[in-house]
Assembly symmetry: C2
Homo-oligomer: 165 residues x 2
C-alpha cells in the first residue's frame, strides 16, 4: 500500500503548505456554494449556472453573438465540450447557431429573446444564493482581500505561459 | 431594450456591492485556473478534475467505496449527473459499481486499482498547476484570509437551510 501512502501524504500535507490549504478551501467552498445555488435554480425550473455562464457571455457581446472559439474561451470549455453544451441550449431555444458566410470555421452562437428572458428569470434566485451562501458570511475586510487576490490570480493565469514540462 | 438595461444594471452594480464583486472575483478566478489545469491534464492524457474529484472521494473512503448518494453529495452532483459521469469513468475501468445485497437503492461505487493509478499519475501535474496558476500569486497573509473565510463559507453553506421562497 505504499502507493496509497504516497498519495495520502501529498494531499494531506496542507499543514506544511498554506498554498495547498488555500487551494482546497477555494475549491471546496466553490463546490459547496455552487452546488446549493444549482439546487435552488433547479427547484424553480431555472437555467443551470453552466447555461447561465454561456448566456451571460453572449449577453455582454455586441448583438448578443460570439464566434464559437471566443465563447469557448470565455466559459473555459474545450470546443467539443462547448459543442455538446450548445446542442442542449439550442434545443431549449435559448441560443441559435449561425454560419459565417465564406468561413466554415467561423460559426457564431447567438442568444435568442427566449435565452435573454431565461437569464433574467434566473437572476433573482442566483443573486439571493450569492448573498445567502457566500457574501453574507464574509467581513468587509475579507471581501476586499478576496477581490484583490482573486482578480490577480485570474489576470496572471490568463497571461501566464504553460509551465515547462 | 429596458429588459437588457435592467439585467446589465444588476450585474454591473459591483461598485456598490462588494459582496457581488467578491463573488465575481471568486468564480472568474475559479473558471480561469481550473480551465488551465484541465488543459494541462488533457495535454498529458491524464484524468479531468471532475474525474479526479470522484476518485479522490473514493480514495478517502474505507475500502475505496461509497454509496452512490454519499458520493453524489461529496462531489455536489445530482444523482442523474453522477450516473452519467460514473458511466464514463466505469467504461475507462477506474470505478466499478457493486450492488448492495438486499438493498436495491444502496448500490456502491468502488475505485479500482487502475483508478488509483490514474489518480497518482495526475497528481504531479495537478500540484504544479495549483502552484503555478494559484498559490504562487498569493501572499502568506492572503492565503490565511482565504483559508479562514472560505472554510467558513463552506461550513455555513453545508449547514444552512434553503432561503425562504
Amino acid at each position: 500500500m505504499s502507493i496509497t501512502l504516497c498519495y495520502d501524504f501529498a494531499m494531506s500535507d496542507e499543514l506544511d503548505d498554506p498554498g495547498l490549504a488555500a487551494w482546497k478551501a477555494f475549491i471546496f467552498a466553490h463546490t459547496a456554494v455552487v452546488g446549493r445555488i444549482e439546487r435552488d435554480l433547479a427547484a424553480e425550473g431555472l437555467v443551470s449556472l453552466t447555461w447561465y455562464d454561456v448566456l451571460t457571455a453572449l449577453s455582454g457581446a455586441p448583438d448578443h453573438r460570439l464566434r464559437l472559439h471566443e465563447l469557448a474561451q470565455q466559459v473555459a470549455l474545450s470546443r467539443s465540450g462547448l459543442t455538446r453544451l450548445l446542442d442542449r441550449i439550442e434545443a431549449a431555444g435559448y441560443v441559435r447557431r449561425e454560419p459565417s458566410p465564406g468561413d466554415r470555421r467561423g460559426a457564431y452562437a447567438v442568444m435568442t429573446a427566449e435565452g435573454e428572458a431565461a437569464l433574467l428569470r434566473a437572476w433573482p434566485t442566483y443573486a439571493r444564493g450569492i448573498a445567502h451562501y457566500f457574501s453574507d458570511h464574509l467581513s468587509d475586510e475579507e471581501k476586499g482581500v478576496l477581490i484583490g487576490a482573486l482578480r490577480r490570480v485570474r489576470a496572471r493565469t490568463l497571461t501566464t505561459r504553460e509551465p515547462d514540462r
